[in-house]
């Protein structure tokens, strides 16, 4: 069965700096990959997803992620963060469209 590891539980960064949130997964078969954001006291919102095709995926709010099959990674990046990007970010994987596994989350804190 698939599993997801988010390598950093907390990432502090200054406003307008670049950020990378790391995600690795384990699976021996084809997977769908997702990044979600959860703002305080709100539900999750999809940032982007990889189903097939181009390995560079662009999402909302200026985020992008790159699927690396050989390294089984799906890291999330943004070239310049804003205070409003402060939130919890979750990586998720679905194997064969059955089940959906989420990582434990990365708390991104953007400081002025």
């Amino acid at each position: 069965a698939q599993s997801v590891t988010q390598l950093d539980s907390q990432v502090p960064v200054f406003e307008e700096a670049p950020v990378e949130l790391r995600c690795n997964y384990s699976s021996s078969v084809s997977v769908y990959l997702f990044w979600y954001v959860q703002y305080p006291n709100q539900g999750l919102q999809l940032l982007l997803k990889y189903l097939s095709g181009s390995t560079l995926v662009k999402g909302i709010n200026g985020f992008e992620a790159e699927f690396n099959k050989s390294q089984t990674s799906f890291h999330l990046r943004k070239p310049s963060v804003h205070i409003s990007d402060t939130a919890e970010y979750f990586c998720a994987v679905s194997e064969y469209n059955n089940d959906m596994r989420f990582g434990a989350g990365t708390r991104l804190t953007v400081k002025p």
Binding site: V4, Y32, N41, Q42, G43, L44, Q45, L46, K49, L51, F90, A92, S94, N97, N98, D99, M100, R101, F102, G103, A104, G105
Partner: protein, 114 residues
Amino acid sequence: DAGVTQSPTHLIKTRGQQVTLRCSPKSGHDTVSWYQQALGQGPQFIFQYYEEEERQRGNFPDRFSGHQFPNYSSELNVNALLLGDSALYLCASSLGGGLQETQYFGPGTRLLVL
């Protein structure tokens, strides 16, 4: 256009009791998925309903059951509550079944089991 709504927002139960949580999907959506999110952890997939049938299921015991109505709304039932069932329960809706479709999440129901 209403998004995904869940009721109640908060709930307190005691061990051994049963609970029913409700979800109304986003307008136009026909698929509902349920997740359990323990404090400080990522969501865990419980199951997905499409066309009034359970289509996919995560690693949850049979105490967790659900239902989807003809209007696509859904209920999550948990029997014989345990302390460990305390969590935020999230409902997500999508269109067309499957987990690859974009899911829209509700704000959740926070369940506390004493």
